[in-house]
């Protein structure tokens, strides 16, 4: 075969680029297979795509750094269709048929609970990102990576009322309007107790079914109750629909929180400006002071755009998935093991620094009681920024 100049240069370039890689960056051998499901279709699909893009970046970065234990990492992903019963079957398949080495988190409370049962049966460590009712997590080798407390129904309302107390006009009267979606409902029930202890007055308490289509009457009742502060026990698109209904009757609450809103659709709504919400991470300093995290934020924005995700900033959803892979990497690297019992024992005794703080699992049911890594963010001029606690606030940001 004749070797021309172009081929010789290409071959030389390939060899040089291989040599230029640091030795630790060359993963070799049989891949470590990590299996999980996500609701790529069904009602939770809009959030699953965020987790998928994040996990793909994590695996890619992991392999660029040399994989785990010098071996490449392969992520085996299945679509659980937002159905917990299918999640259970798929985790069973991942463990028994696909023979994955480790498992990673599905999304949302019901699916995590389903996967937890399978993990328990096969003694697998289960890291999970989004389990809303910690008291139901009875399995000894489950570990949350969301930074949530053992008692969110107590801790999160206090975060929110602490933040609300810093408003220019601190609220005295509260209207609680909550979906019956299990996690936000439980937190809202807790909020009723917390507000009493703080000397606040509840002027309205409404519950509605998740998936409600018409918020007209609810908006009118809030308007009539005229609270200082609207507690929206809401998630997903509900707050947008509720605020649209309020706008139609020319009403806007003086101040409001919506626990876990879909961040994108809220951005452009004038009625949503000033709204508070819970988060663990937002794409601004001090979170992005770490160059690796800043790079992740940049890469995520590119990939999310390519995947057609309208809101391309890293926030709560993306951060909890990123943290799950950080924890997995830390546990495997520190123990130099893929044995679930070894990993579980290590996690119980150690802590892992993730992108939104330091995770620990040394309290009841591997949680921490009374403390967490959640923050309060506020929608200010079309941008979500953390405003409470102060050490995590965006530079110059104050609650308004």
């Amino acid at each position: 075969m004749k070797i021309d100049r172009r081929r010789a240069l290409a071959a030389g370039g390939a060899i040089l680029s291989t040599l230029a890689l640091p030795p630790f960056a060359r993963a070799q051998g049989k891949p470590i297979r990590i299996g999980s499901t996500l609701p790529l279709t069904g009602p939770l699909a809009s959030l699953a795509i965020i987790h998928k893009v994040t996990a793909e970046i994590c695996v890619e970065n992991l392999n660029k750094r040399g994989g785990l234990l010098g071996r490449p990492v392969e992520w085996v992903l299945r679509d659980d269709q937002s159905r917990p019963e299918l999640t259970r079957t798929l985790y069973e398949q991942l463990i028994t048929s696909d023979n994955v080495d480790l498992i990673q988190s599905p999304y949302a409370t019901a699916s995590i609970l389903a996967a937890m049962g399978v993990a328990q049966r096969y003694n697998k460590v289960l890291l999970h990102t989004s389990f809303g009712i910690p008291k139901l997590a009875k399995y000894d080798m489950q570990f949350q990576t969301a930074g949530s407390p053992f008692d969110p129904e107590n801790v999160w309302p206090n975060h929110i009322f602490d933040a609300a107390a810093k408003l220019p006009k601190p609220p005295k009267t509260i209207a609680i309007v909550t979906s019956k979606f299990p996690s936000v409902h439980a937190i809202s029930v807790g909020a009723r107790e917390v507000l009493k202890k703080r000397g606040l007055t509840e002027v309205l308490h409404l519950e509605y079914e998740f998936g409600n289509r018409d918020y007209g009457a609810i908006a009118s009742r809030v308007k009539e109750a005229n609270p200082d502060f609207l507690w929206g026990g809401t998630n997903g698109i509900d707050p947008v629909l509720m605020l649209e209904a309020m706008s139609k009757i020319d009403y806007r609450p003086p101040a409001q929180v919506h626990l876990f809103p879909a961040p994108g659709p809220m951005l452009k709504m004038p009625a949503a400006q000033g709204s508070l919400a819970l988060t663990t991470f937002e794409s601004h300093p001090p979170f992005t002071d770490d160059p690796a995290i800043a790079q992740f934020v940049k890469t995520y924005a590119e990939r999310a755009g390519q995947a057609g995700i309208p809101y391309t900033a890293v926030d709560l959803q993306s951060a909890i998935m990123y943290a799950a892979w950080q924890v997995l990497e830390a546990a495997v690297t520190s123990t130099r093991s893929l044995d679930d019992k070894t990993l579980g024992a290590w996690l119980k005794k150690n802590e892992v620094k993730v992108l939104f703080g330091t995770l620990r699992w040394n309290g009841p049911q591997n949680y921490v009681e009374g403390a967490d890594l959640y923050k309060v963010k506020q929608l200010q001029q079309g941008r979500w920024v953390v405003v409470h606690p102060t050490q995590w606030a965006a530079p110059g940001a104050k609650i308004t």
Binding site: G42, G211, D214, I218, E244, D250, A262, A307, P310
Partner: protein, 284 residues
């Protein structure tokens, strides 16, 4: 005790959401009552219409109302194609339920593939227009929905009641062989009704895009209540689903105004069961 303003605003809200139930139910009622097709894909078509409206308005900057000049004829053709499919494969009444459920899943997957599963909201100047009527507020997009629902329901009723075309359609529904003996072209009328039902889905899509934030999975959220409105209103009766939709909407809204809103979803099905018990002949 709720104030008169709260009750009045809730009733208005119920009327407007009921109009949307009626608009979605109109096409379903026509295809079910006149073509003997239980077309679950009607909901998917309405959402497809909403997404196409969103695309044309948000990306191509076409006025949302002008998009109807594109979507309505396109959906008319789509409806005729669907009818051709049912005829070609001789799909029976029960099987239309299964086949159209499959078509719904395909359309949902297509929407998710192109627009993703994330939420989309059509920004438009009309959303900010509202009027004050004493202590009550009316929004333009709600009034437009009610206007479309009334115009299409009454218009369809008038066509069926007073024109030769309408009489031919009703005759075909009653007894197709006898109607054919009098020179009525059953096939052609079938295509027409199916096309019209799909075009109505395009109009419902415009109203959905004007009033709601879109996500593919919401296709299923409307099925139960709209089915209840269609069954209460009567199959093949254009005004029935609108009246039933408004009754359901207002009942739900008043329930939300005076009790815990969590009771509201029970209203539509309780009403349906009550009518089934009191007037069973309506469904025979």
């Amino acid at each position: 005790m709720p104030s008169a303003t709260l009750l009045g605003q809730s009733v208005l809200s119920g009327v407007f959401i009921g109009a949307l139930y009626g608009l979605l139910g109109l096409g379903l009622s026509l295809s079910w009552g006149m073509l003997r097709q239980v077309n679950l894909a009607h909901f998917a078509l309405a959402f497809l219409g909403a997404y196409v409206t969103f695309q044309l308005a948000a990306v191509a900057k076409v006025d949302p109302f002008v998009t109807l000049a594109i979507t309505a004829p396109a959906f008319f053709a789509l409806g005729m194609a669907l009818h051709w499919f049912f005829l070609r494969f001789s799909v029976t009444l029960l099987n239309t339920l299964l086949v159209t459920f499959g078509i719904t899943s395909i359309i949902e997957a297509g929407i998710q593939w192109y627009w993703t599963a994330d939420f989309h909201r059509m920004e438009n100047a009309y959303a900010a227009v509202r009027w004050k009527l004493g202590p009550l507020f009316l929004s333009l997009t709600d009034v437009v929905t009610l206007g479309f629902a009334l115009a299409l329901a009454v218009g369809t009723w008038a066509v069926l009641r007073f024109t030769d075309l309408g009489k031919a359609i009703r005759a075909t529904t009653e007894d197709a062989p006898i109607a054919a003996a009098f020179g009525v072209n059953e096939k052609l009328l079938g295509y027409l009704v199916s096309g019209l039902a799909a075009a109505v889905a395009a109009v419902a899509g415009l109203c959905l895009a004007l009033n709601h934030t879109l996500a593919p999975v919401q296709i299923y959220a409307w099925m139960g209540v709209v089915f209840a409105a269609v069954m209460m209103g009567g199959l093949g009766r254009p005004i029935g689903p609108l009246v039933a939709g408004i009754v359901i909407g207002v009942s739900e809204a008043i329930t939300m105004a005076v009790t815990n809103p969590t009771w509201a979803p029970l209203v539509s099905f309780s009403l349906l069961i009550a009518i089934l018990l009191l007037r069973p002949a309506r469904f025979s």
